[in-house]
C-alpha cells in the first residue's frame, strides 16, 4: 500500500473499484461497533464489514481483481449520515486515495479533504459508464488528474470537477489546514474580544 497522502495532491494513479448505490451512509462504510477504538489503525480491514459479510466474498472490496485499487467510483450522496471520520480513514487504510462519484455528503467530503483524499464529481450518466469500464476491466490503470480535472485511462478520458476552494487546497498541499489556521492567531484573538458571548456581554 502506498503511504498516506501528504503535501500537494496533483494526481492519483492506480486501478479502480466500484461500489454502486445511492445514499451509501457511513454506518455502512464502517459500522458503529468498529468505532470502539482510540486509534484509526485497525479500520482498513473493517471497511464495509457488514456489506462484505452479507455478500460472502463477492463484495468489490473482497474480489481478488480489485485488490490494490486506489480510486473508488461511487454514485450519489455517498458518505451520508454520521460524521465519523472513521469512514474515510477506513477507506484510506484499505488503500483508497481518491473517490469519484455523482455527489458526496458534505461532512464526508470535508473529512476526506482533511486527509488529502479528493472527492471529485461527474454526471450520473458518465459515472455509470466509468463504473462499467472498471467492472469490465479491473486491471485497467487510471489517473485522476487534479491539474487537468480529468479521470483518464489508456482507453478513455472523462472530465471531473471539484469546487475551487478544496481543489486549491489539494493542489497546493494546504488541505492539512492546521498550520494555516494557527497562522492567524492574532486575528482570532481580536475577533474573540469583540464577540459579546465570549467577552461576557461586556460590549453588546
Amino acid at each position: 500500500m502506498s503511504s498516506f497522502p501528504s503535501g500537494s495532491i496533483q494526481r492519483v494513479a492506480g486501478t479502480a473499484l466500484v461500489v454502486q448505490g445511492e445514499d451509501i451512509d457511513t454506518d455502512r462504510i464502517i459500522p458503529a461497533r468498529f468505532l470502539k477504538c482510540v486509534s484509526f489503525d485497525a479500520l482498513g480491514d473493517q471497511v464495509f464489514a457488514d456489506d462484505r459479510q452479507e455478500l460472502n466474498g463477492s463484495h468489490p472490496f473482497d474480489q481478488p481483481a480489485f485488490q490494490g485499487a486506489s480510486i473508488l467510483i461511487v454514485n450519489g450522496n455517498f458518505g451520508c449520515g454520521s460524521s465519523r471520520e472513521h469512514a474515510p480513514q477506513a477507506l484510506m487504510r484499505w488503500g483508497i486515495r481518491a473517490v469519484v462519484g455523482v455527489s458526496f455528503a458534505e461532512i464526508f467530503f470535508g473529512n476526506c479533504l482533511a486527509l488529502g483524499i479528493p472527492c471529485m464529481t461527474a454526471a450520473s450518466e458518465e459515472i455509470q459508464l466509468i463504473q462499467q469500464a472498471v467492472i469490465e476491466d479491473p486491471g485497467r490503470e487510471w489517473c485522476l488528474d487534479l491539474m487537468a480535472l480529468a479521470l483518464g485511462s489508456p482507453q478513455d478520458r472523462w472530465a471531473v470537477s471539484l469546487e475551487p476552494g478544496p481543489l486549491d487546497m489539494l493542489r497546493s498541499g494546504r488541505w492539512d489546514a492546521t498550520s494555516q489556521l494557527l497562522s492567524r492567531d492574532s486575528e482570532l484573538t481580536a475577533l474573540m474580544k469583540q464577540l459579546p458571548y465570549i467577552n461576557g456581554f461586556q460590549t453588546a
Binding site: 445511492e22 470502539k36 486509534s39 450522496n77 449520515g81 454520521s82 472513521h86 492567524r184 492567531d185
Partner: protein, 481 residues
Amino acid sequence: MFPVPAAAPLSSGTLYDKVWELHRVDDLPGGSTQLLVGLHLIHEVTSPQAFAALRDKGLTVRCPERTVATVDHIVPTTTQTRPFNDPLAEEMLSTLERNCLEYGIQLNAIGSGRQGIVHVIAPELGLTQPGMTVACGDSHTSTHGAFGAIAFGIGTSQVRDVLASQSLAMSKLKVRRIRVDGHLAKGVSAKDLILHVIRTLGVKGGVGFAYEFAGTAIEALSMEERMTLCNMAIEGGARCGYVNPDQITFDYLRGRPHAPSGEFWDRAVQWWSSLASDADAVVDDEVVFDAGQIVPTVTWGITPGQGLGIDERIPSLDVLDPADRPIAEEAYRYMDLQPGTAIAGVPVDVCFIGSCTNGRLSDLRAAAAVARGRHIADGIKAFVVPGSEQVARAAEAEGLDRVFRAAGFEWREPGCSMCLAMNPDRLEGRQISASSSNRNFKGRQGSASGRTLLMSPAMVAAAAVHGQVTDVRGLSLHPTS
C-alpha cells in the same frame, strides 16, 4: 440604551449570514473561510484520535474553556459502575478523562448530575446560545441550531483543528427557508414534521444548504420540539438547521447555569434579538409546507427519507421517481416489507424511546401519556432511555419512571443507547424496532440484519402497547396521573 455592539451584525440578512460574518476570522487562499468556533463539544468516540494528532504535531488546546466534554455513545444504560464490563468502552472513557484532565477541559462525568447525550446536555446547561457557532464531532450537532446558532458536525481532523486553533476552514452554505405555516394537528409532533420534510425534499435535498425553519407552525414550537426538528436537518442532507431566536428561546435559557444573568442578561437578549433573520433577508430557496396536512409519519425503509403517513401503504416502484427505485428495491428486500403493505399494523419486536432526537422530558411525557394505564403487548421488549441525568431526575420527580415500569417498559440510565448500539443495547438478528431515534440505516441498531422504523416517542409507545405500528391519534391519552 446600550452602546452599539462592537461586532455589529449586518443591517439586513439571514441569521446564517450574520453569524457567519461575526465569526469570520479571514478568507483562506482558494476560497474557504476561517471560521471561529464559539462552542466546541466533544465526546469519547470522535475525540481520542484528535488529541493524539494534537500531540503528534506538538500542539496544545487553544481555548480549553470553550470546549466541553461528556460521555454518551458507549455508556451502558443498565449499570454505569466503573470499570465498564466492556474493556474497549472503558478505554474510550478513560482516554477522554485523561485528555480532559491534561488540557483542563470540563468533563460532565457520569454521576455529576450533568452527564448525558451531548446534544441534550449543552442546551439544558445553557451552554448553547443564540448567535454562536457550535461544532462537535457528531453529525447531530445541527440540534443546537434550535437556539439560532450555526451548529454543524465535523470529523476528527477538524476536531483536532478546533482544539488547536478554536477555528475551522469552512465553505459557506446557501440558505433554504423551510416555511411551515398553520397548526400541527393533535397527535402530530415535531418528529412527524421533520420526517415529513425529509420525505418530501429527500435525503440529499439539503446538501449545500443550511435549513432555516420558519413560519407560524415553527414559531409555536417549544425549544425541545425545535431541537428535534433541527437535530434531523442532517438526515435531509443539510449540515445545519436553525430557528430564529425569539421569546421562547429566551424563556428557555433564562436561569440556566451557563446563561448570562443580571444586566448581562438584558444585553444578551438585545444582541440575540438583533441576529434573527430580517424580514427582507434574501434566501437562496424557499419551500412552504402546511402544518395541518402533516400526519403521524413512520419510515418503512433504509433511509430517513423513506417515510409514510400512518394511513399510507408502502409504495410500489411505479409511483416512485426512477432515481429512488433501486434503493426502494433494496429496502423491500432488507426490511422484508412488500409494496402495497399498510404501514399501520406492521409488527415490531423492540420499542426504543430516547436519543438526541427524542430523549428530552417533553418526549418522555408524550410517550408516558400513551403508556399510562396500559401495558406493552406480549413478546415486546420496550425501554426508555432519558437523554441526560437531568432529564432522568426530572422525569422521576414526575413519576414518569413509575408509569413506564407499570406499563412494562424498562427505565434506564442516560446515554445514546440503541440509536447506534455502541453499547450493550442493540437489536438481535432480524428484529424490527419502533424507534424514536434518527437513522434507519442498514445495521444501524447493532445487528447487521436488524431493522428500524423511525417515529415519534408517542408513536413508539403506541407501537409497544399494540405490538405493531399504530396510529396514536386513535388512542385516548392520559397526560397526567
